[in-house]
Symmetry: C2
Subunit: 185 residues, 2 copies
Amino acid sequence: MKKKIDLTEHCVSSATLADGNMLTAKRDTVRLPDGSESYREYVLHPGAVVIVALLPNGHLVLERQFRYPLHQTFIELPAGKIDPNEDVLVTGKRELLEETGYIADDWVKLGIQHPCIGYSNEVIHIYLATGLTAGQHALDDGEFLEVFDVSFDACLEMVLSGEITDSKTITALFLAEKYLAQQHG
Amino acid sequence: MKKKIDLTEHCVSSATLADGNMLTAKRDTVRLPDGSESYREYVLHPGAVVIVALLPNGHLVLERQFRYPLHQTFIELPAGKIDPNEDVLVTGKRELLEETGYIADDWVKLGIQHPCIGYSNEVIHIYLATGLTAGQHALDDGEFLEVFDVSFDACLEMVLSGEITDSKTITALFLAEKYLAQQHG
């Protein structure tokens, strides 16, 4: 690897492009590495947690959910936004319970991912949850989804066949597969 | 898997929340599956291409690039937006050349990914490019990045260590690893 050069872009000024109920967009004037000025537009996001929930029989808990921006139903791992000042592990436990009804005894942090570095500051924390027991889910208002489970191998096959295309889900599966192979290998 | 229920959300009306130079945000009124109305806010994106460029020595071509929304330098695979009416393979060849200076003889489509299904309609097409020859790169105005290469294994290790956290890169590596294992195995 070559010597690292300083690629930093510095904020000159920041303006709000849009302030929606769910989505805030910013437009910042920045100073580029060569001293010139440009603009950067991006979305503010509170961060999220995605959960690889592994049942005692080796199946993964998945969701089918309609995602309006793409007018399409997606198969995804359980995930949700971090509430203000909420600890990320608390978010993980809360979202897994709300969306799927499961409670997990054991939580391992597998890492983080950045889904959209070009135009969002979102970071997604990735957890592996095991020791699951089924309870009662409680969806947010306006949230509709279907919960099901498939074997880990079937889930990987759904990625290869293109049935699963959600990047946060594939990235979390990548880390979980390597982690579990290391644990069992 | 249970019987699939209809989770579709229907557009009632659509408004533009923000119309920036790079980023357009929409706010749609939607009818939910239970008949009630709600809002969905999201970003319009032209789509993109990410390239797993494999050198004759087995190394992958990577980039270091500063990403302003996160105020952080990221290690990523070469990628770029689709120009209006551009064929996605043409985008892949153009972006690989512009950003890294490489030309590839062989292109295989590995699939697609959706990086941000909650608030963007972006789709990223994933290509494996081999038969590389080095040329001269030509960055867009205001684009600053550093190109380097590492072995495939070292690249996977950078994912596991958390040095690579970009979801599009990890998702593309996941598909490339499986594809190459199948080819050689």
